[in-house]
């Protein structure tokens, strides 16, 4: 059963891996994806993530549920942060465990594609003299066609 968290605080990647791995001795493959705040040419001061409390959790749980139906996973964890973050900070963690690597790799890839186009988060970037909302990319929407 996947668990999802939407939180202000940072996450501990190794701690998350250990707690999921210890639940199951059949695990042979662990895939983690970590999304971090990119500093664009050294100008970014901070990034603020707004979200829709209530819907965000539901949407992440729905997507994780689809991944668990499609692939044979032995563990699945999604953590997404909100609030104000600095360049280099962690934003999102997707962690999948399976017996063999294909399921874990594909499920993690699928989760990120769907999360990017359907989880209700909005990024705003702040530089020294301005701030602007990040625009959605066409390629994120078209990435869904792979699945």
């Amino acid at each position: 059963m996947a668990t999802v968290s939407v939180q202000l605080e940072d996450f501990d990647i190794n701690g998350e891996i250990t707690s999921l791995k210890d639940e199951n001795n059949d695990v042979g493959a662990i895939v983690t994806f970590t999304g971090t705040v990119r500093d664009i040419g050294g100008t970014l001061q901070s990034m603020t993530l707004e979200h829709y409390p209530g819907m965000t959790e539901k949407e992440l749980e729905r997507i994780a549920g689809v991944a668990e139906e499609r692939w044979s996973l032995l563990g699945c964890r999604v953590i997404h942060r909100f609030g104000t973050l600095a360049p280099g900070d962690n934003i999102v963690l997707v962690l999948t465990l399976s017996e063999h690597r294909e399921a874990a790799f594909q499920a993690a890839d699928f989760l990120m594609d769907y999360l990017k186009s359907s989880a209700p988060f909005w990024k705003k970037e702040q530089t020294a003299d301005s701030e602007s909302w990040v625009q959605a990319k066409e390629k994120d929407e078209s990435a869904l066609k792979r699945w």
Binding site: G35, L49, E50, H51, Y52, G54, M55, K58, E59, H80, I91, V92, M112, L115, K116, S117, S118, A119, P120, F121, W122, K123, K124, W133, V134, Q135, A136, E141
Partner: protein, 83 residues
């Protein structure tokens, strides 16, 4: 109806939510967007480019032709940019 706004749509409208009694003529998300656009210049500007206006009804993504009811929670926001 409880209407919530997010991201630059929230900033342009100038509020994060408002409660509205649903006029009888409003049956779909599109009807609601048209109605909201008539409320103020700020609403009209925020909702002008409909291709950038996404909607969730009761916290589930919905198309502009989806039906809506008096007791619904309706969120209006630009395309999402998480991950």
């Amino acid at each position: 109806m409880n209407i919530k706004y997010f991201s630059w749509i929230r900033e342009t409208v100038g509020k994060s939510e408002e409660n509205l009694a649903k006029p009888e003529t409003i049956a779909s998300v599109k009807d609601l967007l048209d109605h909201l656009s008539s409320l103020s210049e700020h609403h009209a500007t925020a909702l002008r480019e409909r291709v950038f206006v996404k909607v969730a009804v009761n916290q589930v993504h919905a198309d502009h032709d989806a039906p809506i009811a008096e007791e619904d929670e309706i969120a209006i926001f630009p395309p999402v940019t998480g991950g």
